[in-house]
């Protein structure tokens, strides 16, 4: 049902954990729904220096979270802002149709984290 790539990211997720004093944090989903993704960012000179995630959810939720962190690490914020849920799913070689909306929220979590970073910058 899942591609090899999904299973690889599920078994060996990249960048799991939290960042202390993150520059931005984003969270989407809720426990009622069955999926929550939380993404932490460390940003320096508009580049994502470090990114970590924590996810409650199914195999697809964990794999997409892992994938999105891999896709944006070292990228500029401008590049990261272009990443969509669809691109994450494609990078994983696709997801089963019924997983496309509910468990494919990792890019949303990323965008929320970037937004949080930008809001904080504005306040400074």
């Amino acid at each position: 049902m899942y591609t090899e790539k999904v299973m690889d990211h599920f078994e060996n997720p990249r960048n799991v954990g939290e960042i202390e004093n993150p520059d931005g944090v984003g969270q989407v989903g809720n426990p009622t729904c069955g999926d929550i993704m939380k993404i932490y960012l460390k940003v320096k000179d508009n580049v994502i220096e470090d990114v970590k995630f924590k996810t409650f959810g199914c195999g697809a939720a964990i794999a997409t979270s892992s994938m999105v962190t891999e896709m944006v690490k070292g990228k500029s914020l401008d590049e990261a802002l272009k990443i969509s849920n669809k691109m994450v799913a494609e990078a994983l070689g696709g997801l089963p149709p019924k997983k496309m909306h509910c468990s494919n929220l990792a890019a949303d979590a990323l965008q929320a984290a970037i937004q949080d970073y930008m809001d904080k910058q504005e306040k400074k």
């Binding site: 969270q27 989903g29 809720n30 009622t32 729904c33 996810t55 199914c58």
Partner: protein
């Protein structure tokens, strides 16, 4: 890799003895039981022998057994058939919130055709209360359909009490015994039911075959299938002879071995439940602690999601199942767990282990060895813990998937 099958409530392997008997009816004994000639007669003889075996297994007479394509058809046929013929008597049907979809969706469909439906709640163990059934009965009640044992949480319902209540009120009673048959001893007399469903593939028989017991004199009529006069007008269609032969053999063996199997399974189950609930934190047994099927252990693991546990187990060779939304094919976790009052966030973390005759204590040991690291790994990845579990806004508006989610 070690492979451990722990999903016997989903289906079971066909026993070699059963498969052997069936084989002849795929090959040389291929006749149509309705045919007059030798080939037909041979097939007829074995279909009737199987009917006797199934009847004996539940304490019925052979005339009261109708072969079907499985549990789903038996449930549909039982409920629809009683509803249609009793229309002039009343239009009220009583069922429970934890029934299999084969029952609940059939009853709901009738609800759209002018029948009134009462779906009884269950307690935290998944048990229907006899008092609730009594209170729900009206002078329009024509059918009570409540399962004998629940497939998701293993709880055994007080069918004997409900059956005698139904009888005292002159109401037809059906029970889905797909999960209990062959696992706990019963007879249709003892349960006091008028209709009872069984399925072949849950008792080490083949898939696609089952039976419906219809007590002599029950106001029931075939109302779904139109066709030939097979099964004494109760089920049209050429009999699935290999399947029926397999069901008969499987039923016979299941009853023969019931006592020793139940003891074996209980020993495994009790150790599994004890170890899982003491060795792993934030785990709860779902279903009744004692009134449960001998092979059934089901749990909720907090802060993690069922499908990710199943995938992790599968990677280690262990096959189990879950009532989480992600595995059900819908976005809702199991209706059974929700009906028991288990919150969504916890129902998502459900796992069901259903044991079978080939499982050993070594299988249990293996599970106990691999499960704690799986739980630890997933919990370490989870943003939830005992503080945040219910603190995160549980409203749909906060959730991006809203719109596709049916809540």
């Amino acid at each position: 890799m070690r492979r451990v099958y722990f999903d016997h409530s989903a289906t079971t392997p066909v026993r070699p003895d059963v498969a052997d008997e069936m084989c002849a009816f795929l090959k040389e004994n291929f006749g149509n039981p309705t045919s007059l000639h030798y080939f037909g007669r041979q097939a007829r003889k074995e279909v009737e022998a199987a009917r006797e075996k199934v009847a004996a297994a539940i304490g019925a007479t052979p005339n009261e057994i109708v072969f079907t394509s499985g549990g789903t058809e038996s449930d549909n046929m039982a409920i629809h058939g009683v509803a249609m013929i009793n229309k002039n008597k009343g239009n009220h049907i009583i069922t429970s919130a934890v029934e299999h979809h084969a029952v609940i969706n059939t009853v709901k469909a009738l609800g759209k055709e002018g029948f009134t439906v009462t779906i009884l709640p269950v307690d935290k163990y998944g048990m229907v209360s006899v008092d609730d059934v009594a209170a729900a009965i009206t002078d329009k009640t024509i059918l009570i359909t409540i399962m004998h044992a629940n497939n998701e949480v293993g709880t055994i319902m007080p069918i004997k009490e409900i059956g005698s209540l139904a009888r005292s009120k002159g109401i037809t009673m059906h029970t889905d015994a797909v999960q209990s048959f062959g696992k706990i001893p019963f007879s249709v007399e003892e349960l006091g039911v008028d209709l009872l469903t069984i399925s072949g593939h849950k008792i080490y028989g083949p898939k696609g075959v089952g039976a419906l017991y219809i007590r002599k004199g029950t106001r029931w009529k075939q109302s779904l299938f139109h066709g030939g006069a097979q099964e004494r007008l109760r089920r049209a269609g050429t009999e699935n002879v290999p399947g029926i032969v397999g069901l008969g053999k499987a039923a016979e063996l299941a009853i023969r071995d019931l006592q020793s199997e139940a003891e074996h399974l209980k020993a495994l189950r009790d150790r599994l439940i004890h170890e899982v609930t003491t060795k792993i934190d934030y785990v709860k047994l779902t279903g009744h602690p004692t009134m449960r099927l001998p092979n059934h252990a089901s749990f909720t693991f907090e802060f993690i999601e069922g499908e990710s546990m199943l995938l992790s187990l599968d990677l280690k060779g262990v096959a189990a199942s879950s009532g989480s939304a992600c595995t059900s094919g819908s976005l809702e976790p199991s209706h059974v767990l929700l009906a028991m009052g288990i919150p969504h966030e916890i129902a998502h973390g459900s796992i069901r282990i259903t044991l079978g005759r080939d499982n050993t204590m070594e299988d249990i040991d293996y599970f106990l060895e691999i499960m704690p690291p799986i739980v630890n790994r997933l919990r370490a990845m989870s943003p939830l813990d005992q503080e945040t579990e219910f603190a995160i806004n549980g409203s749909c508006d906060a959730c991006k998937a809203h719109g596709s989610c049916k809540m």
